[in-house]
């Protein structure tokens, strides 16, 4: 539970404490990159832990800002890396949730201009949300290009095919105050294996915020929306009985904090203990929302908790 002195405190926990924590929680929300796997390589023990959680009757959901893969492909990836029985319904990606937002919250009637990858367009199309078809016209410039009619939203995600022309078109659509401005997430960079990084959706969103003078509505973590998606799709989701496990303070821990969940940082990804401690020791109280309740070295630290449970039930 939250630290004894009324303030979250980066509590390192192991074995029996993890078991007690698990007993108190019904829903486990897991980030994927940096928690369960790095690229195509599963974190050692992660698959066993997740399979055990599910076998022990926990509701496990996966909450990821990575919008580059449709949910079907995530199901395949889970299976490929040894996570058995993960179903589509357990996967909440920022691209899937963006589609839900447009279809169910906004109930969009016009088209969406998407600055993002194929996976994002796929999720929208599967939800029945119309996207502007991009014509391949190498000679088009902003001075002579046609703009699509009836664009009611601009959605920005990870777009490796981003060009100046796309930025310009998006800026034009955003001049209409009735055109919504959405971002899948605002992660400034994404980690790849081996310590390398790539520009993230956040950098493209920032460019558009400057050109339009508007702030994007963020779908992914740390915004609450993905938790609202989860709550509306599962019965009986009580924040007090949820645990959010992630590797990035500025997305996963802040998300947990925003949704009033207990939070756990695993050290197999982006953020390190010293980063968490800096936020904890900061004089700015807003920084305290980045601080995890608990810290583990790896999701594999959950393994002993299940061994003991299995021993007890034998």
């Amino acid at each position: 539970m939250a630290g004894a002195f009324g303030f979250k405190g980066c509590q390192k926990i192991r074995g029996p404490q993890i078991r007690n924590l698990l007993e108190a929680k019904d829903f486990i929300l897991l980030d994927c990159d940096g928690v369960l796997w790095h690229g195509e390589k599963a974190v050692t023990g992660a698959a066993t832990v997740v399979n055990s959680m599910i076998r022990n009757g926990k509701n496990v959901v996966f909450v990821t800002n990575n919008c580059t893969r449709p949910r079907e492909k995530y199901v395949h990836k889970f299976s490929r890396l040894g996570f058995t029985d993960v179903m589509l319904e357990q996967i909440f990606s920022s691209s899937y949730c963006s589609a839900l937002y447009l279809r169910d919250v906004v109930k969009i009637t016009g088209q969406v201009f998407v600055m993002g990858c194929e996976a994002l367009r796929t999720e929208l199309q599967e939800a029945g949300v119309p996207c502007v078809e991009e014509a391949e016209d190498p000679d088009a410039t902003i001075y002579n290009c046609a703009l699509a009619p009836d664009v009611k939203a601009v959605l920005v995600g990870h777009d490796d095919k981003m060009t100046f022309l796309k930025l310009a078109k998006a800026s034009c659509y955003l001049r209409d105050p009735d055109c919504l401005f959405l971002a899948t997430d605002i992660d400034p960079w994404h980690p790849l294996s081996g310590g390398r990084i790539l520009p993230g959706s956040g950098s493209l969103t920032a460019a558009l915020e400057v050109s339009s003078g508007r702030k994007a509505t963020v779908i992914g973590k740390p915004s609450r929306f993905m938790f609202e998606c989860i709550s509306s799709q599962f019965k009986g989701v009580d924040p007090a009985k949820c645990l959010m496990i992630g590797d990035r303070l500025e997305t996963d821990m802040l998300f947990g904090s925003n949704c009033r969940l207990d939070t756990m940082l695993t050290l197999t990804g982006v953020s390190q203990t010293k980063d968490a401690e800096e936020y904890r020791d900061s004089e700015l109280t807003t920084n305290h929302s980045f601080v995890p309740d608990y810290i583990v070295d790896s999701i594999a630290d959950f393994l002993p908790a299940f061994d003991e449970q299995e021993e007890q039930s034998n």
Binding site: F164, S171, C172, P188, R196, S203, A207, L208, E209, V210
Partner: protein
Amino acid sequence: MSGSKCTRLTGALVKPVLDSVDSVLFDCDGVIWRGDQAIPGASQVINLLKESGKKVFFVTNNSTKTRKMYVEKMTTMGLNATEEEVFGTAYCSAMYLKNECKLEGKKVYLIGSNAMKDELQAVGIQQTGVGADHISGKQVDWANVDLDPEVKAVVVGFDEHFSYMKLNRALQYLIRQGCLFVGTNRDTRLPLEGGKAVPGTGCLLQAVETAAQRQAQTVGKPNRYMFDCVASQFGLDPSRCLMVGDRLDTDIMLGSNCGLKTLLTLTGVSTVADTEAHQKSGCTERQGMVPDYYVESIADLLPALQG
């Protein structure tokens, strides 16, 4: 600086103000021309100012032209100008990289125009990166993209070829130890006729800054570097200079930062309502965006110059 601010400059007020200055610095877009259209009377005003003994300079954040290209454009509009009078950000960035960053004989990764490339070359700085750069390969290839070991700085100006790949390359250079980071300016938009708007250099710069989680040093207005460039070459007294521009957050701010008199013209971006909003705010920084004077167009200065 006058006690009351934002006075409409007309009639008898014009001549004393012009007499109180030796040099007039003009922004270009929205002041002398809009796109390729000259503002009526603008060339005449500038030519008359020079004939009356004033020094005239052109100070623009636009990085897509060399000084030579600016003079060519001005000549077609009947404006007499020389390269030495023109201070665009392509030229000033090259000066900054040479004089402040000491990169003469070195190399930079450039997101920018051929004009920037030419101005850099003129001061002995090489570049890599100009032109189209399309994405190919997979994510792992991008993170491992070939980096030129001689690159000492990432330089960002206006670039219609901006792409994810360029953003990626800039990021990979910037995370290397000791790589410098310079931007030409932060203008957010270039207004176009017909309801379209072109994202400005500020957008491209913000994309790179966000990815790299680092702030660039910018050269253009309202940073005082551009005025210092002019002043150091021509020995100007700030109190006897007039800055004429159409944007409160760049032109007028520069003038305030450098202790110049400031004149807003309404032929471009900012409006009188904008000035009033800044004036009414309690904020000191915003007071720097309130001009001393304003005119509907710089052609309003003609009667005093012709009389």
